[in-house]
Symmetry: C2
Subunit: 314 residues, 2 copies
DNA sequence: ATGTTCCATATAAATTATATATGGGAATGT
DNA sequence: ACATTCCCATATATAATTTATATGGAACAT
């Protein structure tokens, strides 16, 4: 068994088809069929059920797929370590960021500070959604993630709260309510809500919905956004309104205005997630720096929405 | 990069020589040299420093060796899972046992009970010394181990006490003290102690030495035994006396007598060790069964040394 | 019924790993 | 100081393995 076999295995499982997987892998279909068969023979199990249209994982295939992914993840980690060592760095950290987290001012600050403190350590940033980050952590494709809780999968991951981000309302330019800098949630009763699919961030999604319920209404769902940051252009396009993390006010997508909310505003929680059971000193250092940056940003400068942050309004 | 490259890498590192590693791998030396060079080229680092006599790991080689071992361990785990699934079993557990632990009556009892409760789960037993077991856990070659604490490497492993085993004195047949069923530690002041090297079980080793110190003497060291269980034949050969876990009384190596000790007897601690950060239900079940067996053995039958367990004495 | 989709098989070509033969450099022994 | 030994590197040849091309057959859609 080679790592190649596992790569092929995962590709076929992901595509549900030999033909498409072969295409993705850049090889032809027959060798792929052959290699999978060879793997199945060696393992003594049937990984896929061959259907007339494509293939489907068997039960044992599902179990092994998980382990195969983890193994390939470790290979990536190995290669990353080697590449780092080749460049003379003393280490590296692969950080995964949940949707729109990279817009938080503490992120670039953390990276900058950390690079000053440990110049030989490389930081790789990667943006994705919370469930995908959970998987990447499990597969060892990343070492730490800033996620929007809750994150399932208890014992394997350590999750600790990082901060609670305020949320603001995003309105399209020229909206009747857009003249007021401050809004209440219940003013949005009849507006269509632009919101990302629940799968991409169940925690934040639910926080918005329950805040609306507390305010006495069930939001009318409009267009779905493919990710949190994409709500802004959709709002700008006039498809509805949205409740987004405050840090998104950095996006001035051609005519969106941001408006603060009262105490009933939903809060976007953020947490640090990492694999349990390993004390990598670099990671501890990173977390310390990150927390310090969060504290500093919180104490020092709450960016004021009213001074120019409302985008190109009026 | 293939897993083969890593296998070769580890083999060369273990042997400190291309020639010997090739021999061990069952291939010739030139292809091995070539493959290592290829790996080094791909990674962009020098793994070995070529000396006139053999090779030595470079600093980066040492770092990568650890990860390579872990990767190969995961491959083993993958193959083991697949093999198990092929045989229709629902899972498997690989258990590592520290020296002489397999002689404890709770071990076969645990295996038997566990097999009754979960007939589709296979248990693989493996015997080694505590430091090697720690490594095997790290490399995922085993899932759980019964070790003699202390075990270093804090955050990566979960270690929890299992039981404290009594120790007894092993005397060669015909020894002046062999007539008494009960001894005090200080009676052994002038005897040469047969003991295993400290590296194989620092905890138990130190427990014996400090018990002697508490009894007012420093034991005179005799022949070293390659492992705990091997002390018995050496005692039988008349090379000295030894303090061994009570469970060793099962070994009647041609004329050894076992004698209980007073309150000053050193105690052989045993603990369960496993990788942190994973909730494998099977493992939890196994631990529950193991602890239950320990409780039962403790309550029910403390085997009495005086009834026939003293070997073929007189 | 007919064409399309998609996996399996067979054979040929290319790539890759291994074996054999040999050379060179540094320690070791006389 | 010299020959010898040890051990890794290189070169070439052979064997094994992976991939590509061509083709067949089963199920589904029109």
């Amino acid at each position: 068994m080679d790592l190649r076999h596992l790569r092929y295995f995962v590709a076929v499982a992901d595509n549900g088809s030999f033909t498409r997987a072969a295409e993705q892998l850049g090889i032809e279909q027959p060798p792929l069929s052959q290699q999978i068969k060879q793997l199945e023979n060696e393992l003594g199990v049937l990984l896929f059920q061959r259907l007339t249209r494509g293939v489907r994982l068997t039960d044992v295939g599902m179990i092994l797929l998980d382990q195969a992914r983890a193994l390939l993840g470790m290979q990536q980690q190995f290669l990353a370590t080697a590449q780092g060592l080749a460049r003379g760095e003393k280490g590296h950290i692969r950080v995964g960021l949940a949707g729109a987290v990279s817009l938080l001012p503490m992120i670039p600050l953390t990276v900058r500070r950390f690079r000053e403190l440990w110049p030989d350590v490389t930081i790789y940033l990667e943006e994705s959604n919370t469930p995908a980050l959970r998987k990447s952590l499990h597969d060892r494709a990343i070492d730490i993630a800033i996620v929007r809780p809750p994150v399932p999968d208890g014992a394997e991951l350590l999750v600790s709260p990082l901060l609670e981000e305020e949320t603001v309302v995003a309105l399209p330019k020229g909206h009747p309510l857009a003249t007021r800098p401050h809004l209440e949630l219940e003013m949005l009763v009849d507006e269509p809500f632009i919101i990302f699919p629940r799968e991409l961030g169940p925690g934040f999604h639910d926080a918005i919905l329950s805040a609306c319920h507390n305010a006495g209404f069930t939001p009318r769902m409009g267009q779905q956004a493919p990710q949190i940051a994409s709500t802004v252009p959709l709002v700008a396009a006039g498809l509805g309104v949205s409740v987004v993390p405050r840090s998104l006010h950095q996006i001035h997508s051609g005519g969106v205005t941001y408006h603060s909310l009262g105490a009933k505003a939903p809060r976007a929680e953020l947490a640090i997630a990492m694999r349990a059971g390993q004390h990598v000193p670099l990671l501890s250092n990173f977390i310390t720096t990150l927390r310090a940056c969060c504290r500093d940003m919180h104490a020092g400068g709450q960016t004021d929405l009213s001074k120019g942050d409302r985008g190109d309004e009026t």
